[in-house]
Symmetry: C2
Subunit: 354 residues, 2 copies
């Protein structure tokens, strides 16, 4: 299988030495602002740039050494946190504006104004990432908008030979809560159909960052308040969930990793275990590992103390499910093994032609 050098080096940099992903996400903006506002007892818009930058730098400093790659944002994170990223951790930079534009009950994405893939390259980062809110049952207009958004990013990344990490996150199109039996039932189909869409070559994705394609809290095995205080009516079994994961893996024409979406660390570790068993190449995880630190702000001693103990332990617990177990990215069916990888156009006139 052929791959361009920028994408090859990018994927290698954000993976571990054996091609597996244990990545730290610290690109949260809206959700972090909200949590810090709560800790500070102020309105969300009173949380300053410095509050955000300080928190992100602290998390990066303590936890980046456990990561194969670190996903940062260019607004609050990168410029003040990059000095804390060890050389053995690759750098991913978020391209999308936090949140979404609401059109009725549907969600559309925009890019960070003033930022670009060209700047991402210039900074020495290894990969570009976008997240979009997505539901294949949205209106045709919204679907077309979101598809174009992803396609344009794929083209930008191709132009700069930058590894493209793409993250679709589902939501109920009726504007209701996601924590409902009805939505839990629909989720496996939504995630699988989403993966089918963005596996098309026209999007030029290199790595999929996927939601867990079910809600474990709605399984027979975990419905009785195992991960939180709430008891739910189960809609499927763990065996069903394993089948949902296999369906996602069959649909994915690119290597994929699992995201945490802020669930509790115990639930996340269970998700990682199941996803890796089904063929995932690791995880890209933020809040499940460090969210408790936000509640301790602005007491930085307490923040560092949490990160160094519980935070680090959370990371190690998730890593344990990936190391020597997850599928190395170059062993994905897309590539077929490390020894089969060749740089596109390699040879005599390569340097003139790229």
């Amino acid at each position: 299988m052929h791959i361009t050098p920028g994408k090859f080096r990018g994927l290698s940099m954000i993976a571990d030495y054996e091609g597996r992903f244990t990545m730290l996400a610290i690109d949260q903006r809206g959700s972090m602002q909200k949590a810090l506002a709560q800790s500070l007892g102020v309105e969300k818009d009173r949380v300053t740039h410095e509050d955000m930058a300080k928190m992100k730098a602290a998390i990066t400093q303590v936890l980046a050494p456990y990561a194969s790659g670190v996903l940062m944002d260019p607004v609050y994170g990168f410029s003040q946190s990059v000095v804390h990223v060890p050389k053995f951790a690759g750098i991913l930079l978020a391209q999308e504006e936090s949140g979404y534009e609401q059109v009725g009950t549907e969600r559309r994405s925009t890019l960070v104004k003033g930022w670009s893939v060209a700047k991402t390259r210039q900074c020495g980062a290894d990969a570009a990432k976008i997240v979009i809110y997505y539901n294949p049952d949205c209106s045709e207009e919204t679907l077309r908008y979101q598809h174009d958004f992803v396609r344009r990013m794929g083209e930008e990344c191709e132009k700069h030979d930058m590894a493209f990490v793409f993250e679709p996150v589902s939501y109920p199109t009726d504007g209701g809560d996601a924590d409902r039996a009805e939505y839990a039932s629909a989720k496996p189909g939504i995630v699988r159909r989403t993966v089918e869409e963005f596996s098309k070559p026209e999007y030029k994705v290199d790595l999929l960052k996927l939601e867990f394609p079910a809600d474990l809290k709605y399984t027979n095995e975990y419905a009785k308040a195992v991960f939180d205080e709430k008891e739910r009516t189960p809609v499927y079994t763990l065996a069903d969930v394993k089948e949902f994961l296999r369906a996602v893996d069959r649909a994915a024409t690119h290597p994929w990793v699992i995201l945490s979406a802020g669930v509790d660390i115990r639930e996340f570790v269970e998700q990682v275990k199941l996803a890796v068993f089904a063929g995932a190449s690791g995880f890209l995880c933020g809040r499940a590992i460090w969210k408790k630190a936000l509640g301790l702000y602005p007491d930085m001693d307490a923040v560092f103390s949490f990160l160094r103990s519980e935070g680090a332990q959370n990371f190690k617990n998730a890593n344990a499910e990936v190391l020597s177990k997850a599928l190395p990215w170059f062993d994905h069916k897309k590539f077929g093994g490390r020894e089969k990888i060749e740089i596109l156009g390699q040879g005599e006139s390569w340097y003139k032609q790229i």
Copy 2:
């Protein structure tokens, strides 16, 4: 001290975890072609692209794991060797055409046609390097030409926020041999004055790759055929050489590393020891480590066997003089310590302004 993120990340990537450089050079073109022609018993122009690429890939595969960074060329090396570079080794790419344009007895530099710093970025490399032949006693015309050449590269690197590694190599302007008492005597002054010139901010250099500023084979201590079969008349002592090195270190406004220029490994290890003692941040070394492998081509079993045993041992011997001894780049007087490093313009509007 302020530094831009691309240059910060670039220097971090090509240094080891502690900011010291143990870099492998495998960007040789003319000299490698010549050596392979000899091994194959053919004219130099009969050495094929495949011969060169195969040799470079083998050296990279075996020795890159010992390096903090690997210097490759885009013509024969990079596209076929990059798959062998581990993520923990940064990548430097040569920009200059091999050899030089001869004008009388003077030498002028050109760039690889069809290659650029933009392409260097696009490939995911961490630093750009040029070597020039330089003697401060050249004609004003040649000096102006070479100064412009370096200045333009400094500007290109600044534009792409790419770490700029600059290597001046001296030569006798009379067209004679360098292995003469007269030239050995002149060398310390030539190297020091060269460092003074390219320490000027207008060249925008980030890391100097320097010749040893003396010829150890012309010292009292080593003149009696210690490093080769030839006995020479000494022109200085080891104590003088230490003073030459200190003068270079005083003149250098950027961190610097020592190059091997193909000397024997025993002489090189001695040079590294002395340079590090005077303030160097490590080495960037090619032939001193692996040149014997060229003589074994095309017997690839013998090539690999040499690289894995003697080649690896040579690298480890040089590394031993750098690890925990050389000056980390951020501790150079230019930066004044890791904790003083700040990303230029970091903060609220950084991402819009770069």
